[in-house]
Chain length 263, copies 2
């Protein structure tokens, strides 16, 4: 048997498989039947069946007997609370986002990178007050969002190539970058410029300016963006906000720096 044919997603023995199944259930946005999962799972029926049983047993999934459907379980909500507090930038960045939000009347996103994808961990909306859990945890593509490109640009070479490789390059709009080469060039440009733009690459009419959050050592720990619509503002207008965006990114980096497990 070849040694190269295990997908990275699926490695790591039984636990890896179980977590992969968990992901598959979570990926559908509604409760799923056994068969739905079976369809896009690499595992044989019996195996999948037992993985689902185990996960349900453990409270990671919930099973609805009428309808026979599985959904992510509340044990995850409990675990996530602690993950969000400890491993995300959000709690640390909160005051700085509040400050930026008061300076800028636009939507602000705070994101981190999770396996080449953008994970939004906090958000401020100009209009509506705050709307959290429902937004934090959302994922988006890396290659066609401002925060995604800003973060990828500042990964080290290996990690960056890896991330470039894992994008889908789906053409969302006419402006979407649809090849690894185009993306690679864009990332180089972002590095020299210091900020990334989303030029309606993900959604027509939506543009943004994004900055990476970099620790003094240079390590990239996340990104921050200011989003607006073309009806409302232009990229030039967004450039006006760059100093505030960068200042906020720096403040967050500073807060993250001076923070290693207070005894």
């Amino acid at each position: 048997m070849g040694a190269m044919d295990k997908s990275p997603q699926t490695a790591d023995g039984t636990v890896g498989k179980a977590l992969h199944v968990l992901d598959m259930v979570a990926a559908h946005m509604r409760p799923v039947r056994f068969n739905d999962i079976l369809t896009d799972s690499p595992y044989p029926k019996a195996t999948l069946y037992r993985l689902l049983q185990t996960l349900t047993n453990q409270g990671m999934l919930s099973f609805d007997p009428d309808g026979g459907t599985y959904a992510p379980g509340i044990r995850l909500v409990r675990l996530a609370h602690s993950a969000w507090r400890q491993s995300s930038l959000a709690p640390l960045a909160r005051p700085h986002l509040d400050e930026l939000s008061s300076q800028v009347q636009e939507t602000i996103h705070l994101a981190q990178l999770d396996r080449g994808q953008v994970l939004y961990v906090d958000k401020r909306n100009a209009a509506t007050p705050v709307e959290m859990f429902s937004q934090a945890g959302k994922v988006g593509p890396g290659y066609c969002t401002g925060v995604g490109k800003a973060m990828m640009a500042y990964l080290n070479d290996d990690a960056r190539e890896d991330a470039i490789r894992h994008q889908s390059y789906f053409r969302h709009t006419d402006h979407t970058l649809t090849s690894p080469d185009a993306l690679r060039a864009e990332l180089a440009h972002i590095r020299s410029r210091g900020v990334a733009y989303d030029r309606e690459e993900h959604e027509v009419g939506i543009i943004c300016i994004a900055a990476p959050i970099l620790l003094p050592g240079g390590r990239m720990i996340g990104a921050l963006s200011i989003t607006t619509s073309t009806q409302h503002k232009s990229l030039r207008d967004l450039d006006q906000l760059e100093p505030m965006l960068q200042a906020c990114a720096n403040n967050i980096a500073g807060a993250a720096e001076n923070w290693q497990f207070p005894s």
Copy 2:
């Protein structure tokens, strides 16, 4: 080998063990060293070591090389988003909580039961605007909180006895119920009364009135509470709010009822 000597926490093979380890890491509220986990883990060094490696590999934990500490990983945040939206009452209850919140100038909690413990899934605070993810996912004890008792009271007999058995009965205040019998009696009383009170049982000066959320069939799916301080209001005052509390609980139950996977 006996069949009875596996703790329920730890059953379910390797996956169960891995998830147990995940819980242990999440339970500490700061990043933990290998040894910290080893201390309160039932697993031998080598086993624990590999479980941690697997989990880290999978992004369920993050490992910080300086300091050699583990913390819950951001993959959890992503999973939780979908769990919160699908398996918690919160998204469904949101408009009803908003309504109650506007009627009542007090703190409101929405909770569900997770293995005998209270899991808060949403919150409205009279003073501060909204403060979500940081609150949702929090856990609390069942035997000494209003929502905890309200939920336990309406479990079926088996599940209720099970929950009663799993409480710690730590004496937080002079009013804390500290024995299964006392709790059992209180739960019977709650069932006859329809609401539960927290009479400074968890924290001195903090009282609340809580109602279960019951589907028409009688199944308990969560609880709702209005909290205040003794300086501010008395239990009698809280009784004035009972109709609104119950109405809100009913509304949420109604919303939950008329909601089975819309195709």
